[in-house]
Amino acid sequence: MKCNDFLKELTDYLDGAVNEGLKAELDEHLHWCRECHVVMNTTKKTIEIYRDNKIYELPDALRTRLHDAIMSKCRDNKSSKKTP
């Protein structure tokens, strides 16, 4: 297996979506190829960092404001439907 072939399977490998035979081949490639090992590890870390450090959280005050605005518009919409 060449590095290119490994890379093509990287996403499925990290998602645990490869069959046993292919996994064994990929593991073997990782065993001797330091570069692919680093790429695999740092890609995994990339995913974890974005997953664990949720950027763009909705602050509570803004959340309440948005919720009230949405519900008020829904209420208007509902009453305008009732009285055509």
Binding site: T42, T46, I55, L66
Partner: protein, 209 residues
Amino acid sequence: METIQKKNEEGVTSEMALVLAAKKGDLDAFSQLVKRYDRNVFRIAQHITHNDEDAQDVVQDAFLKAYTNLEQFQGNSKFYTWLVRIAVNEALMRLRKRRTDRTVSLDEDVETEEGSMPREVADWSPNPEQMYGTSELGDILKKTIQGLPPGFRTVFVLRDVEQLSTEETAEMLGLSVPAVKSRLLRARLQLRERLSRYFKSNRGGDESQ
């Protein structure tokens, strides 16, 4: 509706029960749906638009659109899948408005080879997140993901941040499963490449860049 309220306190009201009640005009039920998903919709909208005002508008418009079109929701997919599809379209529309010089679509830049081949192969520090303070780390992560084409970052945020399945992501974006997988691979590799600049280990690493 009292029964809905009561059930929800116990955390057992199903999404479908809330949708059915909302369809019958129960605004409290719809309010529960908003509270259930507003954080996710905001996060997705922010990732796509990278603009605070736009993201807030997307949240409002997506929920309002869902409410007014609730009749058309047939229940073949999950309400959340349907809602995110609406939100993604709203977000892309706003992005297009801001970038009048170019079109924005999920297919943009898909043929680029950039980032398909890793160039940076220096290992990272053992705990890269600890190299920076929380707000500095947040800035790095935002700046890095902003550099990806919209189609790539949309797939990345749905699959890897919101942790939806490939199939769900494909359904939300109207893409095929192989298309989602190919965008996800490129998004992951490009983010990795760009983050290496900040996280690579200084000891024994290649400092030539």
